[in-house]
């Protein structure tokens, strides 16, 4: 594969797509597929076949368009987005290509949900066919890889990533350029790149969506990373619970190998690279780097003390670069447009955009990509469209079981790594769950503690025993049988787990409790002293639910 050959593929794909004067894109990512979007696509295909329009009208399966709650979504070449489309609407939509839009199905796109977004990671989602490498190449795909391989040294690639200010999108926000630089300087007989696609946070589905909608973007990011750090082998550690993402990744890897973008001596250079999949098997702790490495090696996913960090001693004892899916998805645009361009977006310390999975008690649920520094209020009320059924906002939860609940007072806070940490939560991988007055914060804290207790790997005692004891106290508070003494013990345990646990899971497990204790102390008091649950959630439940 030479730059000329790549351009040739792009040209011929653009030419063959240019033949079509009309286009209908149907979302075939997991969200819409579970609302029967495949049957919608089949109906459209059939309709076109019936009318003999196949030569100038194209029906294409594309990735996620974002507004998952209104699926299945269909967009047309005359700029209309349709929501909740059924197979029986096929004929009407094909008719609309030459006439006026089908008003009963129109989904307005001039609303903040679409207008306030800035798409870098998701620029191809909902536009290209994730199963065809040609479509990705036609939109400029793999040009960043070619540019890196033929015009830049590995040092220059790392410098560009450093200049962009990109920070790890998995949650902790470690500067990506620094990580790459460390791995590139480490000495080993071989080096590895690992893409962490074990999206374990409940309430987060950004990585899944990126993998299902634009898998080649992740491969390209990994290839550039491999070139920059000097690795020849890579693994994508992906959740077995995401069968569609696995299927599309396998397909993407095969296609890239076929055209010579993966394999040996890529682009006639000395750079060779191979990517393999490893399936996770459902262990939240495997989001932790060292546990993930153990799992890739076929062992139980238990973490080990750091240092040595994976950048020095990782997979099979060799220097290893681990980044999250979204981090890799940001790399190609950074190389294409330059680090300075990326650094011009966002806040002083948090650059670029972030993809969030907006869910819970909010009108518009789905996937959004916004510039760093947007306020929570804009997220909830403008993009999210506010709280349904006229209820009152109570909190927004970020960062999953390692994060916290942010109350009304925090609504005007900008969303960036520092502000969220200061408010007692974390950026996390990007789950954002809105809660209204019908949610009890004690119950939410108990829910997350139950999660951490179940997911604790059991290696270190503070986490194994501590999460159990904290869950016991939270259950007692929920059952209205706790005392002030219990509350004091709960606070002590928060401190203990934070400072003595081996890995991030245990260290951050108290976060949901700490943040709710801080912002919703009166709810805890009501349970303990007045024996009642202000939200009317606790006490009404059966014990089976905590199982």
């Amino acid at each position: 594969m030479t730059p000329e050959e790549l351009e040739e593929i792009a040209e011929s794909e653009r030419a063959s797509q240019g033949r079509f004067t009309q286009r209908v894109n149907v979302c075939v990512a997991a969200g819409c597929l579970s609302c029967q979007s495949q049957s919608v696509k089949d109906a459209l295909d059939q309709e076109i076949g019936k009318r003999g329009n196949k030569d100038h009208c194209q029906v294409k399966g594309v990735g996620c368009m974002g507004l998952c709650s209104e699926g299945p979504l269909v967009s047309t070449s005359n700029g209309v987005l349709y929501k909740k489309v059924e197979a029986s609407d096929g004929a009407a939509i094909i008719d609309s290509l030459e006439g006026s839009a089908v008003s009963r199905l129109v989904c307005p796109t001039d609303v903040p949900f679409f207008q306030r977004q800035k798409k870098i990671v998701l620029e191809n989602s909902g536009v290209i066919d994730p199963d065809r490498i040609e479509d990705y190449i036609a939109t400029g795909g793999y040009t960043a890889l070619i540019k890196a391989l033929t015009e830049m040294t590995s040092r220059e690639v790392i410098d560009e990533v450093t200049k962009s200010g990109l920070r790890g999108r998995g949650g902790a926000g470690y500067p990506t350029g620094l990580k790459w630089s460390t791995v590139s300087k480490s000495v080993g007989t071989s080096k590895y790149v690992i893409c962490n696609a074990d999206e374990g946070d409940p309430g987060a589905f950004m990585d899944r969506s990126v993998l299902e909608s634009d898998p080649h973007r992740v491969l390209e990011g990994m290839l550039i990373a491999g070139y920059a750090v000097g690795a020849a082998e890579a693994y994508i550690y992906v959740r077995a619970e995401y069968p569609l993402a696995i299927k599309r990744l396998r397909n993407a890897i095969r296609q890239a190998e076929r055209v010579g973008l993966l394999g040996s001596e890529i682009c006639g250079t000395r750079f060779s690279f191979k990517i393999d999949l490893r399936l996770g098997a459902g262990a939240f702790v495997c989001g932790e780097e060292t546990a993930l490495i153990a799992s890739v090696e076929g062992k139980r996913g238990t973490p080990r003390p750091r240092p040595p960090y994976p950048a020095m001693e990782g997979l099979f004892g060799q220097p290893t670069l681990i980044n999250n899916v979204e981090t890799f998805a940001n790399i190609a645009p950074i190389i294409r447009n330059g680090g300075a361009w990326y650094a011009s977006i966002g806040t002083e310390k948090s650059k670029g955009t972030k993809v969030f999975a907006l869910a819970g008690r909010v009108e518009n649920t789905g996937l959004v990509e916004v510039p760093m520094g947007i306020s929570l209020r804009e997220m909830v009320y403008e993009i999210g469209g506010g709280i349904p059924e006229g209820r009152k906002f109570k909190a927004v939860q970020t960062g999953g079981p390692s994060g916290g609940c942010l109350p009304t007072e925090c609504l005007d806070m900008p969303v960036d790594y520092e502000s969220l940490a200061k408010a007692g939560s974390i950026m996390g991988s990007g789950g954002m769950i809105v809660m209204d007055e019908s949610s009890c914060m004690v119950d939410v804290a108990k829910y997350f503690m139950d999660f951490c207790m179940t997911e604790s790997c059991g290696k270190c005692i503070p986490c194994r025993v501590g999460t159990y004891q904290m869950h016991r106290i939270l259950t007692a508070i929920g059952n209205m049988t706790a005392t002030d003494q219990d509350l004091k013990m709960l606070e002590e345990l928060c401190d203990l787990l934070k400072h003595t646990s081996l890995c991030g899971l245990g260290q951050s497990a108290p976060n949901p409790v700490v943040s709710t204790l801080k912002s919703f102390a009166e709810e805890y008091r009501a349970h303990i002293q007045e024996h009642k649950c202000p939200a009317g959630v606790c006490g009404a439940q059966t014990e089976g639910e905590t199982a």
């Binding site: 309430g203 619970e241 008690r361 997350f448």
Partner: protein, 166 residues
């Protein structure tokens, strides 16, 4: 690649062991292929029983205790066969605050089993998931591999009734 003194023989003549053998070969008969191999076994047979674990352990030259340890550490692996139908209720955060506990409660009462169990007539297995990533459709339930969104208590009961009365 190392070679065996004597090549382990599959527990029985079931053709599906060929799939397992293919994965073992692809992993170079090395311990690092343990999780991948267990995935293949579970995909082929639906669950991991003792004879399967023994065979995998011998083939990859790991102690049986390690194969058992890995199989029980990860939630995705199951040591028991599932029922004719499976119902997975998502307990992710978005589903949780949108009523997944009530769904689970109703199903538990109707079927008389707890998550991870199968009804006595082997018709339905009940499972819970940490998060399906279908948060936009909360609460979500998976009926036999098919994801259903915005499920109501009445909806899930009706679906289960179709299975149990069939």
């Amino acid at each position: 690649m190392l070679s065996y003194v004597t090549k382990p023989v599959p527990p029985n003549s079931d053709k599906r062991w060929k799939l397992v053998d293919a994965t073992i070969r692809r992993q170079g008969q090395q311990a690092r292929g343990l999780i991948e191999t267990l995935h293949t076994v579970q995909e082929a047979f639906g669950y991991l029983d003792e004879q399967a674990l023994r065979y995998v352990a011998v083939s990859l030259r790991v102690p049986l205790s390690r194969a058992y340890g890995v199989a029980t550490f990860y939630h995705f692996f199951t040591l028991k066969p599932a029922g004719e139908h499976t119902c997975v209720i998502c307990m992710g955060t978005a589903c949780y605050i949108k009523g997944a506990p009530q769904l689970l409660d109703a199903v538990q009462r109707d079927l008389g089993i707890r998550p991870g169990e199968t009804t006595a007539d082997k018709k339905v297995s009940l499972l819970t998931a940490r998060c399906l990533g279908s948060c936009g459709l909360a609460p979500a339930v998976v009926y036999d591999q098919e994801v259903a969104g915005k499920v109501s208590t009445a909806g899930v009961r009706e679906h289960l009734k179709k299975w149990t009365s069939a």
